[in-house]
């Protein structure tokens, strides 16, 4: 099968740009699709072709399978890359591509379907010999629960099958509370979700989120590129990712890698995928498989010197997997979101100034540009900063250095949270779990606060001097005063009156 001539990218933002970059390096043309809000977006400007889809709401553009496949056909694309999010794990798009004779750069529809269903995915994992959190899922009654809890050991968790996002979970610490807790949980689940199914799982203490990057070709080869540690999360959204994970031994890494490859092989996987595990006290348990490229894939690219999008395209075109290079050093990624660093509240606005970091070991993946509007239609990630160092200490220091170089004006960003994480003793020691963000102290020192107050007074002084100068020199003022005097954003509940 010859290499593709033209790829449609069914996505936007930095991931669309990411795919365009690799395609361009491979000499493959790209078709960007865009919504009303994205006409001037970087992915549109950097692609070789662009097709307008529709309104700014995702349902009118990036989620419309019919429009996307029609655009791919009309522009003569022979492949389609779904990116992440939007339709990337939608088996209907994969099927529609197949029907249209367009290569979907992801796994076959069947693999998406299996991994998209929690119950099916668990079954597949069990069948492939991948460890699951021990517990009782089926034919649950009080007697079976008591037996199961005794077997896995207390504490245990009772979870509502229809729950999610932390809702409908109850922790039980002793056998004598179990049956009563089960009855209560069942009643609660019935009233909250209209579904009284409850299952039991071992309570995993201090869990870490550790995932394995896999890649499979159409010739039955499956490889993995080690792990990524993604435990720094807020509201189940990853904020800082690193590789390697300090908690893994070489033996455990090999076991997890093998488990991930076995699972991929068992569902006839093709392309890039990620198997997510919970790690706790030296053991690992299957969580789920993401059947697409992850946001944090550059962490792996930096460590292995590999281009995962290139591999996706190559295996999609029927080529065999390239050999996996030896990993080197340590890599860290930080996601920079347009959000209030205290309340993780999205922040909208126009980017009026962007200072990008540079120098050794620094990579930035971003589709932001000066003048860009951050709108409410899409997710709030502005950039991914990825660094590489010879070891973990150097990577952390480098990441902090680069984060200090990165300045974004126009919206409030999560940068200070990331910096505080890198400075936190628990992070530096590598001794952390998915709750780390809750415990990080972000209060500035009194000395820094005094400096900030001095700087604020100085800024006002300078502004006043310039305003004075502006009266004298109208020309100079016109060029600079509006920006300088721009009124600050008001993202908070304001107090009016005195």
């Amino acid at each position: 099968m010859p290499m593709f001539r033209r790829i449609l990218i069914a996505n936007r933002g930095e991931i669309a740009l990411r795919v365009i970059r690799t395609a361009q390096e491979m000499g493959i043309e790209t078709v960007a699709v865009y919504s009303d809000a994205d006409r001037a977006a970087l992915h549109v400007r950097r692609a070789t072709h662009a097709v307008h889809l529709g309104g700014s709401k995702p349902s009118e553009s990036y989620l419309d399978i019919g429009k996307i496949v029609a655009a791919a056909k009309r522009t003569g694309c022979d492949a389609l890359h779904p990116g992440y999010g939007f339709l990337s794990e939608n088996e209907d798009l994969a099927q529609a591509c197949k029907d249209a004779g367009i290569e979907f750069l992801g796994p076959p529809p069947h693999a998406i379907t299996v991994m998209g269903d929690k119950v099916e995915a668990r079954k597949a994992a069990a069948k492939a010999g991948v460890p699951l959190v021990p517990g009782l899922q089926e034919d649950v009654d009080a007697a079976r629960l008591v037996a199961a809890a005794k077997q896995v050991g207390y504490p245990v968790m009772l979870k509502a099958a229809a729950g999610g996002g932390g809702k409908g979970i109850r922790i039980v610490r002793e056998e004598k509370q179990l049956v009563e807790a089960f009855e209560l949980a069942r009643a609660e689940a019935r009233s909250s979700f209209g579904d009284e199914r409850i299952y039991l799982e071992k309570f995993v203490t201090r869990p870490r989120h550790v995932e394995i990057q896999v890649m499979a070709d159409k010739h039955g080869n499956v490889v993995h590129y080690g792990e990524r540690e993604c435990s720094v999360q807020r509201r189940h959204q990853k904020l800082v990712e690193e590789s390697p994970c300090v908690a893994l031994t070489p033996e455990l890494r090999a076991q997890m890698g093998k488990a991930a490859c076995d699972l991929a092989r068992s569902v006839g996987y093709v392309g890039a995928g990620t198997v997510e595990f919970l790690w706790s006290e030296g053991r690992f348990y299957f969580m789920e498989m993401n059947t697409r490229l992850q946001v944090e894939h550059p962490v792996t690219e930096m460590r292995y010197g590999v281009d995962l999008v290139r591999e996706q395209i190559r295996v999609g075109a029927g080529e065999k997997l390239s050999p996996v290079p030896e990993p080197r050093g340590h890599a860290i990624e930080v996601r920079v979101n347009a959000e209030d660093p205290d309340k993780f509240f999205p922040s909208l606005g126009t980017l009026t100034r962007i200072n990008l970091p540079g120098g050794p070991g620094v990579r930035l993946d971003s589709a932001m540009y000066r003048g860009m509007e951050v709108t409410p239609y899409y997710d709030s990630m502005l950039a991914k900063l990825v660094v590489h160092g010879a070891d973990r200490d150097q990577a952390i220091a480098r990441c902090a250095r680069a984060l200090r170089e990165l300045r974004i004006v126009g919206v409030v960003t999560s940068l200070p949270v990331a910096l505080a994480t890198l400075r936190a003793p628990a992070f530096a020691a590598g001794d952390y779990d998915t709750s780390i963000l809750e415990s990080i102290d972000r209060k500035p020192t009194a000395q820094h606060e005094e400096l900030a107050m001095l700087a604020a007074a100085a800024a006002r002084f300078l502004g006043a001097e310039r305003a004075g100068a502006a009266v004298e020199s109208a020309g100079a003022a016109r060029a600079s005063a509006p920006r300088w005097a721009m009124v600050g954003r008001a993202d908070r509940l304001r107090r009016t009156g005195p």
């Binding site: 409410p376 820094h448 606060e449 107050m453 800024a459 300088w484 954003r489 908070r492 005195p498």
Partner: protein, 166 residues
């Protein structure tokens, strides 16, 4: 010029004066030699304090200066002596009205209070969905809900008044 700055419950007064090319700041009995230079278009400046260098990005509002420096973001309340005098005259009223406004366009997912409710500081008043996330909007100070101007399921524009408290 004298500036009164407030940050995190701390208040500091700085007197800044120009002596030719040099600037001097005084705060209590401390004196600092300042060197200030605008960078490019003016939302950033280089600040030297006694030879120490700070790279500052500033967003100057009427009452607040939002700064990016030292790897952090600070929102400092600043008044010069004239503004302070004006506020002193207008002040001395007790209490105050709180307004809850939508910082961005979004959809009201839930209204957690009713008119007449007495609420604590930090209590969630309204949940707004924007950018794929649900955002709880909380009370910044204790008070009593006097008006509710939005309802569940409603799409609201940026800046829309959602609720008033006293």
């Amino acid at each position: 010029m004298k500036y009164t700055t407030k940050l995190g419950g701390v208040e500091r007064e700085f007197v800044i004066e120009r002596h030719g090319d040099a600037l001097q700041a005084r705060c209590g009995d401390k004196t600092f030699a300042l060197d200030l230079r605008l960078v490019g278009d003016g939302s950033a400046f280089s600040l030297l304090v006694d030879g120490r260098s700070y790279d500052v990005v500033a967003d100057i509002g009427r009452e607040e200066v939002a700064l990016q420096m030292l790897g952090q973001r600070f929102v400092v309340h600043v008044e010069d002596e004239r503004e302070r005098a004006a506020h002193a005259v207008a002040g001395n009223k007790v209490g105050g009205k709180q307004e809850l406004r939508a910082a961005m366009p979004g959809i009201v997912i839930d209204v957690k209070v009713a008119v007449g409710d007495a609420v604590e500081e930090g209590k969630t008043l309204v949940v707004l969905e924007a950018m794929k996330m649900q955002n709880p909007l909380a009370a910044e100070a204790p008070g009593k809900v006097t008006r509710i101007l939005c309802k569940k399921g409603e799409a609201v524009a940026a800046g829309a008044l959602l609720l008033e408290m006293e």
